[in-house]
């Protein structure tokens, strides 16, 4: 509560400094603001910035080190007042207030831009420390090479990573096998064949799929696709009796990825220069021959990048697999069996009452870091390929 009060006091001082700065500047100039270097408002803001920033910094320092005593409070207020006095003394007609204010604003802008770096650092550090904790308690060779996943909260768990990796890759593979041809053909049709009117209807239609939250796809897998596949494929074929399966999750994830693949490929195909098309058509090739033998080879690197991005999306997807894939960690080839993924296990190990000293909880951080590393590699590779491809035609 004290911090709120100090903030309030600082706010009042800041408001006072706003008017004092302006008054002082105009007084310096003998009442004629045209004699000043900057606009009167700049003098106001320059005073406010100089008054507030050191006091706020001190306040944050005291708050973090938990030393916010009455003496500390007084120090903050005195610092603000001293800064106010100094900044008022600094004001003369030739004082470049605009430059001061703009330096301050620029610093704020840089700070905001650095949030992105701080986020990445936060992600890596938060997972790194807990992962190291985990590997102190659990052998890393066991984690990466064991084929059994059997956490027991009484201890003596086996936390092998391989079944989770297999489930993740298997589901992603099925999703991509479904999404890449469909998405690519849809993009080709929209870019090369469809007239403007069809395009105006179909493109937003496909893009709606991209705006639907993954929890909706998850429920779709759980109540519609899962039972459908079980009753019409898995049970008649004798392959399993479970609604949640690799196939369920893979197919639904494939639907989710269609717009992703198609809009990226659409962009890439549109970037292939028209002269290539004209040349090929002029030599007598049909449109499909042009697409297959000229446009696709030219667009291939970009399309590979798009597929890699889609793969990274599939590997990191959570809600569809939580609701559609099941929770059993298995190494099996049968696509109608329930299997599980890295993301499902992160959720199950970290929800509920977790003991942050037990390896059964900490393993989630190791899983998270591995997931982050895998998707990061795919993303960097994909972005590099796409960027290189763009440069090629620019």
């Amino acid at each position: 509560m004290t911090a709120t009060w100090i903030l309030l006091i600082l706010l009042i001082i800041a408001a006072a400094s706003f008017f004092l700065g302006r008054a002082r500047a105009i007084a310096c100039a003998g009442g004629d603001s045209r004699a000043l270097h900057s606009l009167p408002g700049h003098y106001s803001w320059a005073t406010v910035l100089v008054t507030l920033l050191p006091a706020l910094l001190l306040l944050a320092l005291l708050e973090i080190s938990a030393a916010l005593t009455p003496a500390g409070t007084l120090a903050v207020v005195i610092l603000a007042l001293a800064a106010l006095a100094w900044s008022l003394r600094r004001i003369t007609p030739v004082f470049r207030a605009r430059a001061t204010v703009e330096r301050g604003v620029l610093a704020l802008l840089i700070l905001a831009a650095c949030v992105a770096i701080a986020t990445t650092a936060g992600i890596v550090l938060s997972m790194l420390f807990e992962t190291l904790n985990f590997f102190v308690q659990y052998d890393w060779r066991e984690f990466f090479l064991s084929a059994t996943w059997a956490p027991r909260f009484q201890g003596g768990s086996e936390l092998g990573f391989l079944p989770l990796l297999w489930g993740t890759l298997y589901i992603s593979l099925i999703a991509l096998i479904f999404a890449v041809p469909v998405g690519l053909f849809a993009a080709i049709y929209m870019a090369e064949y469809a007239g403007r009117r069809i395009r105006a209807v179909v493109k937003p239609g496909i893009e709606i799929l991209a705006g639907i939250p993954t929890i909706v796809y998850g429920l779709f897998a759980l109540i519609t696709v899962g039972p459908l596949l079980r009753d019409y494929f898995a049970q008649p074929l004798g392959l399993g009796a479970s609604g949640s399966s690799v196939m369920t999750a893979g197919l639904v994830m494939g639907i989710m990825l269609i717009p992703f693949v198609s809009s990226l490929s659409d962009d890439i195909i549109a970037q292939v220069p028209q002269s290539l098309r004209d040349g090929s058509l002029g030599l007598g090739a049909t449109r499909s021959e042009t697409i297959r033998q000229v446009i696709l080879p030219a667009a291939l690197p970009g399309i590979v990048g798009a597929v890699l991005l889609a793969a990274s999306r599939a590997i990191g997807e959570t809600m569809i697999v939580v609701l559609g894939a099941g929770a059993a960690a298995k190494l099996s080839l049968n696509p109608f069996e329930a299997m599980t993924t890295i993301t499902v296990k992160i959720v199950s190990q970290l929800t509920g009452d977790s003991d942050f000293a037990a390896p059964e909880t900490l393993v989630a951080f190791a899983l998270g870091l591995t997931l982050f590393a895998i998707t990061l590699c795919l993303n960097v590779l994909a972005l590099a390929i796409v960027r290189k491809y763009r440069e090629q035609y620019e």
């Binding site: 703009e102 620029l106 802008l109 905001a112 831009a113 650095c114 949030v115 992105a116 986020t119 990445t120 936060g122 992600i123 938060s126 997972m127 807990e130 041809p181 469909v182 998405g183 053909f185 849809a186 049709y189 929209m190 090369e192 064949y193 239609g205 496909i206 709606i208 799929l209 705006g211 939250p213 993954t214 929890i215 909706v216 796809y217 429920l219 779709f220 109540i223 519609t224 639907i255 269609i258 049909t286 449109r287 499909s288 021959e289 990274s312 590997i315 990191g316 959570t318 809600m319 939580v322 609701l323 959720v347 970290l350 929800t351 989630a364 951080f365 998270g368 997931l371 990061l376 993303n379």
Partner: protein, 444 residues
């Protein structure tokens, strides 16, 4: 080549075999493209019909219409209507009153079902109903001793029967509902004692426990989501715009800029669950913020939304032609003034559109919220902001997930209904973004 040349038609007007084959290949290829589009649209149609089909029922609810005599002898023995004393009567006391009222109403209506016990007929009343009547009596103690006409919730199975989810066959296999109860329900519907009404409580009531799906609502979840969106908007928009202005207008080509660029590009593609781990480790375990609180959810979603907003903002800043900046600089504005007075206002519609789309994405995000404890069962509404940001709350998508994990099939209907609410919000946001773009977008 020579044998092919021999097979070729002599006239351009005759199609040879080779050309026919090529044209067939062309038609097949084109059909594949069309097929792909149809598959995509069919998937969309299936998804929407499946959700709408199973979710629309959640907006209607079975209610029992009864006159209830709030017996003063049972509910207020002292007789002075003192609220403190009234509070001591638990829902069990009210349960008895309601059960008796129902038995009487059934008898008065002349309904006779063979094999129907009093327990059976009481069983069609929701377990939530006594609490409803008790709240009514506590808020207006003068009602005690009166006979009031009330509308109380029917049990979830009876609700399911009226909506066609429960049938005579399924009731035979279900120990929670008997055939006699279903016959009673039929008879009560005929006499207007039981009806399916619009379910406003679905949007306002809090969640309810496993046994009473009929009472579960989205009130806490909608409020929690709204709080989080407020936080995301208040943090992500200014930070995102500031970062974009720096990167697009001021950043020199150096290592720091490259580092920021790479980070933004990668953060946009980091799996959402990883942001959940970040929130758990930093905001809850390290900074000591409370679990299940909208403030933590808001912060996590802010970090997730930032890349989206930055990418959209940079695109719209880039679209403002350099001549605008040059004109401002030429008239003596500083670079900062040129940006804030001229470039930013012109880019504002694009920025807002991006922000709304980012918010829509954040509204539907589930996975990171699971890790920061939003999945907990919360019955209390969070308080008013700013303290309310720290109260436990739920969120729309997490509430949906929560309901899919419950045993009673009535919760599937609730979950699908909640999805309809979520999609309606998203539709409004996206429509707003499109309108904004159409109305204000300028092309140079």
């Amino acid at each position: 080549m020579s044998d092919q040349a021999a097979a070729r038609p002599t006239s351009l007007l005759n199609r040879g075999d080779h050309t026919a084959r090529r044209h067939a290949a062309e038609a097949r290829f084109r059909a594949c493209g069309l097929g792909a589009i149809l598959i995509g649209l069919a998937a969309l149609a299936m998804l929407l019909t499946s959700v709408l089909g199973s979710g629309l029922g959640a907006f209607r609810q079975t209610y029992i219409h009864l006159p209830i005599h709030l017996d003063a002898a049972a509910l207020d023995k002292s007789g002075d209507r003192d609220p403190e004393v009234l509070k001591k009567v638990t829902t069990i006391g009210y349960r008895k009153v309601i059960d008796a009222a129902l038995v009487e109403a059934v008898a008065q209506a002349g309904i006779v079902i063979p094999g129907l016990t009093e327990d059976d007929s009481a069983g069609i009343i929701s377990r939530e109903a006594p609490a409803q009547v008790r709240d009514m009596a506590l808020s207006d103690p003068d009602l005690i001793g009166e006979t009031i006409q009330v509308r109380i919730l029917a049990d979830g199975r009876i609700d399911g029967y009226l909506k066609g989810r429960v049938s005579a066959e399924s009731a035979a296999r279900d120990s929670n509902v008997s055939l006699a109860q279903l016959q009673l329900a039929d008879a009560m519907v005929e006499r207007g004692l039981l009806s399916l009404d619009f379910n406003a409580a679905f949007l306002t009531a809090p969640d309810a426990s496993d046994q009473r799906p009929e009472a579960a609502g989205l009130g806490v979840a909608i409020l929690g989501s709204a709080y989080m969106m407020l936080i995301v908007l208040a943090l992500a928009l200014p930070i995102g715009v500031a970062a974009s202005i720096y990167l697009e207008e001021f950043a020199p080509k150096n290592r720091l800029t490259d580092l920021i660029e790479v980070n933004v590009a990668n953060l946009a593609a980091v799996p959402s669950i990883v942001f959940g781990i970040l929130g758990l480790a930093i905001f809850i375990n390290f900074a000591g913020l409370p679990q299940s609180a909208p403030v933590v959810g808001g912060l996590v979603l802010t970090l997730m939304t930032l890349p989206t907003i930055i990418i959209a903002t940079r695109a719209s800043l880039k679209a403002v032609p350099p001549s605008i900046r040059e004109a401002a600089l030429g008239l003596g504005a500083s670079r900062m003034q040129a940006v804030f007075h001229h470039v930013l206002p012109l880019a504002a519609p694009g920025i807002l559109t991006g922000a709304i789309l980012g918010l829509a994405q954040a509204l539907g995000e589930t996975a990171p919220l699971l890790l920061i404890g939003m999945v907990a069962f919360v019955r209390e509404y969070p308080g008013a902001p700013p303290e309310g940001f720290f109260d436990p709350a739920s969120a729309l998508p997490v509430q949906i997930f929560n309901w899919t994990q419950r045993a009673d099939p009535a919760f599937v209907e609730r979950a699908s209904g909640a999805i309809i609410v979520l999609l309606a919000f998203l539709l409004v946001m996206n429509a707003a973004a499109i309108l904004l773009r159409r109305r204000f977008e300028r092309r140079w």
